[in-house]
Symmetry: C2
Subunit: 334 residues, 2 copies
Amino acid sequence: MTGSEIRQNKATKQWVIYAPGRKTRPKDFQRSSSVRSEIPERQESCPFCPGNEHMLPEIVMETPEDPAPWQVRVVPNKFPAVTPEGDRNRVSEGIYVKMDGYGHHEVVIEHPLHNRQIGEMSVTEVERVVEAYHRRYVNLMQDDGTMMVLIFRNHGTRAGTSLIHPHSQIITTGMVPHYIRWQEEGAQHYFDEWGRCVYCDILAYESGEEVRLVYENESFVAFVPFAADVPFEVWIMPRVHKADFAEIIDEEKEDLAAAMREILGRLHQNLNDPDYNYIFMTSARYRSGEPQLHWYVQIRPRLTTTAGFEIGSGISINPSIPEDDAAFLRGEPE
Amino acid sequence: MTGSEIRQNKATKQWVIYAPGRKTRPKDFQRSSSVRSEIPERQESCPFCPGNEHMLPEIVMETPEDPAPWQVRVVPNKFPAVTPEGDRNRVSEGIYVKMDGYGHHEVVIEHPLHNRQIGEMSVTEVERVVEAYHRRYVNLMQDDGTMMVLIFRNHGTRAGTSLIHPHSQIITTGMVPHYIRWQEEGAQHYFDEWGRCVYCDILAYESGEEVRLVYENESFVAFVPFAADVPFEVWIMPRVHKADFAEIIDEEKEDLAAAMREILGRLHQNLNDPDYNYIFMTSARYRSGEPQLHWYVQIRPRLTTTAGFEIGSGISINPSIPEDDAAFLRGEPE
C-alpha cells in the first residue's frame, strides 16, 4: 500500500483512514514492561477479593454454586450508572426529552485471584465467565423494561477502569440507543438488497481470504476487520448465524472461551498486556429474532487516542494496517 | 436531581446518562498544577517556531501578510492523514469498498510564541486565527473533490496531540462521513416535522432559560448543551441561522473570537489548563445551502475516559450535570 487508503466498514458504512506516514511497527505499541506484573494475588482493600464480602452491596450470583468455592461472582455495581428503581417513561423538560436512569448495572468478578487476567486464565475458567454472562443476559432480558443488554470489559486506565481485580460489567437500558438502531438499520438495508446477513458474508469472505484471519475453531472465527477502527482490533464471530447472544449453546460457550483466551492471551504476550475494551455486540430486544443480525465480540486495544477529527467526523485514523496486525497476531515475523 | 437521569440530544437523538453516584465536584477536575506552565517562548527543535522555516514542507498562507511579521501561518501537515494526490473514486476490494486517502491536511500555527495558548491570547490574536480558518475553508471548498472541511484543535496529550506549539488542523475528505450524514438527517427530520431549524430552537430556548448559559455577545451564544456528552462541554452558536461556516461575516469573526477567547480562557483559569478538543461543526458541501442546518463550535474538555459501554452503545456517561457546569463556568460559587 503506497499513499494513505480509506476503507469502509461494510456493516456500518463508517470510514477509516489508514495513514502509512503515521505508521508505526507493531513493536512500537508494546509496553516496555508490564505495569501489572507486580500485582499481588490478594489485596486487603479490594471488595472483589475473597473474604471481603462485607464490602459488597449484595451477591447476585456465583458459579460454581455452593458449597464449592466460587470462581465467578456477579454483584451490583456500587456506583451504578442506572438503577431498576427509576421510571421507564420519557418525560419532557421544556423542548427536550429525558427519562429516569432506568436499568441494571452489574459487575462480573471473573476470578477470585486479584491478579489473574482473562488472557492468563485457563479455557475452563474463561468458560465460567462466559456462562455467567449468558445466565445474567437471559435473566436481565426477562425484565420487560430491558431494551438492550450490553456486556463489556474495561482493562486498564486507558480503557476506563482503575480497578485491578479482573472484572467485566453488564449494563441494561430502557431504550435502544440511536447508535445500535443505526447499526441494525445498516444490516437491514443490506438484507433488503442481497437477502443475506452482512456479517455472514463478511465471515465467509474473511475465512476464504485468510489474510486478516487470526484464529478459528469449530464454532468461531477471529479476524481483524477490513476497516478496523483501532490497531489490533479483533472480532470473534460465531459461524452459526444468530442475532442474539442469548441463543449461544453450551458447545459454543467452550469454543468462545477458547477463542477469547487465545486472542487476549496473544495480545497480553505479544503487546505486553495492553489496555483494551471488549464488547458483546448483540441485537436489541425487539430485534432478537431478525434474520439480518449476527452477534459477535469486538476486542479493541487502547493504543491510540481519539482526537478532534475523529470526534467531529466519526472517521477513525488508524496508523496500523489490518493485514499487518493480523500477521503479527498470528505470530508471523515482521 | 435525585437518582440518575438520561437525557436526549435534541439534534442527534443520542442519549447521555448523568450518574450522580459517580459525581465529582468541578474542583475534582482541576489539574493540581499546570503541566504547561514551564514552557519557554521559543524552542529550538520546534518546526512551528519562527526561524525554523527550513523544517516546514511549505508555507500555504500567512497573516498578516508580508512584510509584517506573521502571526498566523498555515502549513501542510508533515505526516498527512490524506493527500490531494490520491484518486477520488471508490474501488472494490473483494466484497469491500475503499478509496485512496484523498483530501487535504493542513496545520494552522496560531501564534509565533511557542507557549501562547488560545485561552491566553488577545481577542485580536484569536480573530486572526478565525480569519485564517475562514480563508482556508473557502479556499479548500473550491476543490471540486472536497465534500467536507473539518477544522479542529487538539490541546494536550489526552486530546490527541503531543505538540506544544499552539496549532489547530484542517482536514478535508472526498466523501461525506456517515456520522455527518446522520446528524444532517436528524436536522432534516426535525425541519420536516416543525418547519424550523432544530439548532435555532435550541438557541432560543437556552437564551430564555439561562440556566445553561455561559456567555453571550451580539453574534454568539455559548452554553452547556442539555445533553452534554462530557463535563464542561460548551457550544458556541451563531445567532444568525447559516448552514455553512463559509458564510461568516467580518463582524461575526470578531464576536466569535471574543467568545472563544472567553470560554477557553475560563476553562484555562478555572480548571487549570485542561486538555480539550474543539471542532467547527458545519454542513457538508452539498448541503451548504439548506435551511435546516446551523454551524457552531463544539468545545470538549478531555476529563473523562470513553470505556466499553460508551463504545458499544454510543451512550455517554457524564458524571457532571450541565446546569452545574454552566454555573461553574459563569464563575458562580459552588
